[in-house]
């Protein structure tokens, strides 16, 4: 082994996150925390009808407030180009949250849509004036109640990346003829991401150049989108987001606030900061679709699945939306002989739905994994045994090989850590004083893709390494993990590596979504580092420094640094990048790649009041190789905690008559708090995935999948009550 190939052993160690000091001392500046000379503040006026037209806007009272600079309405707004039509050939086109061209006409498409923006010298003045803009509407009949609209749902169209259904054999006939069956409907409410940092944009124009500090998880696509909306070259837009206060999918797409901040800055000729109020986030940033799901399972007496049917109804807005691929996990988790998967969606006059942590699987697993538990109960088989009895060797629908699958090992290890053998099989058979105790399991499943990323890596004569890549860091740990990867790839200590990220001026990276950022960026860093090692070797040969450390090689060769780039952001580079990406996607279609896991949950339910507590939690994951156990553990726990929130408390309430969100606040939308969360035992099997760079599988989303089912299953075990409608609030459990 030469000095160049020596590993520094950074990968796999629990390095502290590199931005930890900035975040614990208050020096980290988020998007609403950058000042510009002459900075102004904007506030949004929201529509109060779900569909119709603005007939008049009276801004006199608003304009009279001291400090108000301008009230921007459809009557005086500068022009804005429409959002691009979604096309698979231009991936950035999917990034529009809605298709509405804000403040360009008088149409209203959802309750909460921005109808005016006030710009003022202070945030207090902007807020006060926004409340004084008088808008009159003519309403049109609208469809807002999801439950009554389900019958109008249309079959969802899939795309090559996300199939929307599947059919194998005749599942209906198999169900009818099955010795044992369960057939039930499960429902999940709308959810909101509630990243703790509300969306905020600070926009400044310099001629026709635009700089925005935006809370985004799609830096590159935001840039493309803004350039298009304002009719300027992409090179004129810079999006900066080194710190993002949580995203979970809610900051993946461009929502009105971002566009309006830039529009307001253009209209006033001043830099503008538009920070959404918490209510404003609910009104203008989409959330997760509600769902109605039917799962029907047929089995033999000994628990072999003969039929698996999963049908779902989701919703989108009339101006866009994300119906979620709710049945995905049902395509891959069980070796049923006959399978039927169908996804439907209904279009309504509400804010478009959007992706939220593990879109599809987080709510789809609730229905599937609850149904499996119900079947186990009817069969009198242990729910883990039933799952293992139906664990497939190949992908059940199309027979593709698994890239990697260790669900058996995950359950075995989880059962040991959790103490599953102490569970008595009968529901309502365990208690601790007045607390009924229950234990439940469920599988976690999240499919994974690999994207491409541009990156440059530079090794300098002083032994330091600079990685430059415009990826986004919202707390997943990318800034730390990519440094660890580069350190090992170049054989330098972790501290010698600096990673620049969060800026569209850097080589472009994919959005942070689909749990694919870490692997996609790592792939390119590894490639760049390999190039550097090759250049170093030839330099070493030329200068007679073979076998010496990189620093020595560069000194001897008299070279200040070696730099390597992967991908490029030139026009040609983009085309090549797109082709590279398509090749990769085609290659990846040959097998099924997914992160999986086994959740074990213990709940306690007060026998008189129905008070429900999650008292213990163990999860074991198959997420390939883990680069940093500290940040990986946090990511997985974070997913589980969000899943516990889904299961127990979270719910966005839409008024079924008006379509208005009734609980747009953190006081009325209940997130899990400290007291709701026990110590969560997470671990992983650690076996590298053979199809991924370094064998790592993305782990941002798999954690949340299966969680709500594990809770519901534990609640059933504790109380004998099967709750099929989330969240599991007290009223559903009181005796």
């Amino acid at each position: 082994m030469t000095a160049l190939q020596q590993r520094t052993g950074s990968v796999g160690t629990p390095v502290d996150r590199v931005d930890g000091v900035a975040k614990t001392t208050g020096t980290a500046r988020f998007s609403a925390e950058h000042t510009y000379p002459g900075l102004t503040y904007a506030a949004v006026v929201h529509a109060t009808i779900s569909r119709g037209r603005i007939t008049a806007i009276d801004t006199t009272r608003a304009a009279d407030i001291a400090g108000v600079i301008k009230v921007i309405t459809p009557e005086n707004a500068p022009p804005l180009k429409p959002a691009p039509r979604v096309s698979m050939l231009n991936m950035s086109s999917i990034v529009s949250g809605t298709s509405v061209n804000y403040l360009q006409d008088n149409e209203v498409h959802w309750d909460g849509q921005p109808v005016a923006v006030v710009v003022a010298e202070t945030s207090e003045a902007a807020k006060e004036a926004a409340a004084l803009v008088d808008v009159t509407y003519r309403t049109t009949e609208s469809s807002v109640d999801f439950v009554t609209a389900r019958l109008q749902a249309q079959v969802q169209k899939g795309n090559p990346l996300l199939p929307a259904g599947a059919k194998k054999g005749d599942a209906a006939a198999a169900l009818a003829g099955a010795a044992v069956s369960v057939d039930a409907e499960y429902t999940t409410p709308p959810y909101n991401h509630n990243a703790l940092e509300p969306h905020s944009t600070t926009a400044a124009w310099d001629g026709d150049r635009l700089t925005v500090h935006d809370a985004t998880q799609s830096i590159g696509w935001f840039r493309t989108h803004l350039a298009l909306r304002f009719g300027i070259p992409e090179a004129n837009v810079r999006v900066i987001a080194p710190y993002v206060g949580g995203g979970f999918g809610g900051k993946a797409f461009v929502w009105p606030g971002t566009v309006l901040a830039a529009l307001a800055a253009r209209a006033t000729g001043r830099p503008v900061r538009l920070t959404l109020t918490r209510e404003g986030v609910y009104r203008t940033v989409g959330g997760r679709t509600p769902s109605i799901q039917r799962v029907a399972l047929g089995a033999t007496q000994d628990g072999k699945l003969t039929a698996l049917i999963h049908q779902s109804v989701a919703r989108v807005g009339r101006t866009g939306g994300m119906p979620e691929q709710i049945t995905t996990q049902s395509r891959h988790l069980y070796a049923a002989e006959n399978i039927l998967l169908e996804q439907r969606a209904v279009e309504q006059d509400v804010l478009p739905t959007t992706s939220m942590r593990a879109p599809g699987e987080s709510i789809g697993t609730f229905a599937l994994e609850s149904a499996i538990d119900e079947l186990a109960d009817v069969l009198g088989i242990d729910p883990i045994d039933l799952r293992m009895h139906n664990e497939p060797d190949r992908d059940p629908v199309d027979g593709k090989p698994f890239a990697h699958r260790m669900l058996r090992e995950a359950y075995a290890e989880g059962a040991r850590r959790f103490g599953w053998s102490a569970r008595s099989p009968q529901p309502r058979s365990m208690n601790d004083g007045r607390w009924l105790v229950g234990m439940g399991v469920a599988s976690a499943f999240h499919p994974l893709m690999l994207f491409t990323s541009n990156v440059t890596v530079r090794l300098s004569a002083d032994g330091t390494v600079l990685v430059r890549c415009g990826f986004q860091e919202m707390g997943m740990g990318g800034a730390t993990v990519q440094g660890q990867i580069a350190a090992d790839a170049l054989g330098v200590p972790f501290d010698a590596v600096r990673v620049e990220y969060g800026d569209s001026a850097l080589p472009s990276a994919p959005m942070a979504g689909g749990s694919m950022q870490t692997a996609s960026v790592a792939n390119s860093i590894l490639e760049a580092c390999a190039k550097i090692r090759a250049s170093l070797e030839s330099l070493a040969k030329r200068s007679g420094a073979v076998g010496q450390a990189p620093k020595a090689v560069l000194a001897k060769a008299g070279v200040p640094h070696v730099e390597a780039a992967v991908g490029s952001d030139t026009r040609l580079g983009k085309v090549t990048g797109q082709m590279r990406m398509m090749r990769q996607v085609m290659r990846d279609r040959r097998y099924l790649r997914a992160a999986t896991g086994a959740h074990f949950c213990e709940v306690r339910v007060d026998q008189d009041t129905g008070e429900l507590r999650v008292s213990r939690w163990t999860s074991v994951f198959d997420v390939g190789r883990v680069i940093n156990p500290k940040t990986a553990g946090s990511q997985l726990r974070g997913g589980i905690i969000m899943g516990i929130g889904m299961a127990l408390a979270e719910e966005t309430l839409f008024d079924p008559r008006t379509g208005r969100i009734m609980n747009p606040s953190l006081a009325e939308y209940h997130l899990p708090v400290h007291a709701d969360i026990p110590a969560i035992d997470v671990s992983w099997l650690g076996d590298p995935d053979p199809t991924m760079p370094l064998g790592l599988l993305g782990l941002g989303e798999v954690g949340i999948t299966g969680v709500a089912a594990a809770v519901a299953n534990a609640v059933h075990h504790a109380t004998g009550r099967r709750v099929r409608d989330l969240p599991i609030t007290l009223d559903k459990l009181v005796p």
Partner: protein, 169 residues
């Protein structure tokens, strides 16, 4: 407009502001101290927690004019082992709730020492070793959407233990 002088992180700072300006907005927008965060602006998340004469408060629910002559400590003025304990235990992800969690924890530890009751401890109970359950109860006003709760509790427990060691030695 009202004249206010607040001691912020040990330094007297004066302002001439309309009375409706919140303490949080005064700190963030007027003094440029953006350590305290705004997660909800209505007292529901704890991201804006600062110390007022050593006591934790939600600065979004306070008016700046109420704090004339008082001493405010924001995260920028904190220098405590708790901060490194947060990093070591990965008690943060995105970091947006973190300044609030830290200020709140400092206030909470002081309350606990003073014998303030909680739903977990009986009033007058001897404030012995701080349990995880107690920390969770007393920190429940500080939301963390990233779910860094386990690490936060550990960091606080570790730091509290340090504190007791010092006192007893």
């Amino acid at each position: 407009m009202v004249d206010v002088t607040i001691r912020v992180n040990g330094q007297a700072r004066s302002l001439d502001i309309p009375p409706q300006v919140s303490l949080l907005d005064a700190l963030r927008e007027r003094f440029g101290l953006t350590g305290p965060k705004k997660g909800c602006d209505q007292g529901a998340c704890g991201a804006c927690t600062v110390l007022a004469d050593g006591e934790r408060i939600n600065s979004c629910l306070a008016l700046a004019v109420q704090y004339d002559g008082r001493e405010i400590t924001t995260i920028e003025g904190v220098d405590d082992p708790l901060q490194t304990a947060f990093v070591r235990n990965d008690g943060l992800q995105c970091g947006y709730c973190t300044p609030g969690q830290i200020c709140s924890a400092l206030g909470m530890l002081a309350e606990y020492k003073d014998g303030a009751p909680s739903a977990v401890t009986e009033p007058d109970a001897d404030p012995g070793e701080l349990t995880e359950e107690e920390i969770r109860e007393r920190m429940s006003g500080n939301l963390c959407r990233c779910g860094a709760y386990n690490g936060i509790v550990k960091a606080i427990q570790e730091t509290a233990a340090l504190d007791t060691e010092e006192v007893s030695s």
